[in-house]
């Protein structure tokens, strides 16, 4: 799966995008975040306040209990500030 990070999440993780193989333990967005946070400090800092971030799967906003699968494009970002 492809994962994208934007704004201060991208800065804290140090990556704009990465490709990962879906781990066996991950079936939902929430579980993906658990797995990412365990990878290191940058991830832990990016996801420190989970209720302050939004997730998109295949370019649609989703709740964190949404399922994820290996071909998905998943994005994490802070609340949007366009307009």
């Amino acid at each position: 799966m492809k994962i994208l990070y934007f704004a201060w999440m991208r800065q804290r993780i140090g990556l704009a995008t990465e490709d990962i193989a879906l781990p066996d333990s991950v079936a939902t967005v929430d579980e993906l975040i658990d797995w990412l946070v365990a990878r290191g400090d940058g991830y832990a800092q990016a996801f420190v306040k989970r209720d302050a971030i939004r997730a998109a799967v295949n370019q649609d906003y989703v709740p964190f209990n949404h399922p994820v699968s290996d071909g998905d494009e998943i994005a994490f970002f802070p609340p949007v500030t366009g307009g």
């Binding site: 998109a56 949007v80 500030t81 366009g82 307009g83």
Partner: protein, 158 residues
């Protein structure tokens, strides 16, 4: 029509093009968003020298098209346009243009407000402001969420 672009736009030319060849249009409501020279940082207004708009290519276009389609579903519009810029902008620069054309003014005004309110809460853009203290990511304002929420349609039966 929606456009996501780095380059500037000509507001007058865009409005003229939107209404050309359709004499059923009775009016056009537009909103142009500009970069302010001051921004609230840690509770007080600080001068900003520039702003960088980041976005999510692909999802941005998808969301703008969905929001525009929703406006056209709710109001009898003859034409609509959303242009949103990204990249580095300076105070006074244009950020966004929303234009809605209709036979009568109320639909045009309402659709234009609706589009701007939804852009604020649903379009995947993020603003990084350059201040004397460095780059500061703009935070979401509660008032933006409230402004967007007023357009939520009542559930069936209400």
């Amino acid at each position: 029509m929606i456009r996501v672009q780095e380059e500037d736009f000509d507001t007058g030319a865009e409005i003229a093009a939107l209404t050309a060849d359709n004499t059923a249009i009775g009016g056009v409501a537009t909103f142009t968003g500009l970069v302010r020279d001051m921004a609230p940082v840690d509770g007080s207004d600080k001068p900003i020298s520039a702003m960088t708009l980041e976005h999510y290519p692909g999802m941005t276009e998808k969301k703008l098209a969905e929001i525009e389609a929703e406006a056209n579903r709710r109001w009898p519009l003859d034409a609509s346009l959303i242009i949103h810029r990204y990249g580095r902008l300076e105070p006074g620069d244009r950020i966004v243009l929303v234009a809605c054309a209709s036979a009568h003014r109320q639909a045009a005004f309402d659709a234009c407000q609706f589009l701007m309110d939804w852009l604020k809460t649903d379009a995947p853009f993020w603003k990084l402001e350059d201040t004397d203290a460095g780059g500061v990511w703009v935070e979401t304002r509660e008032t933006d969420a409230a402004a967007a929420a007023r357009w939520n349609e009542p559930a069936d039966g209400e």
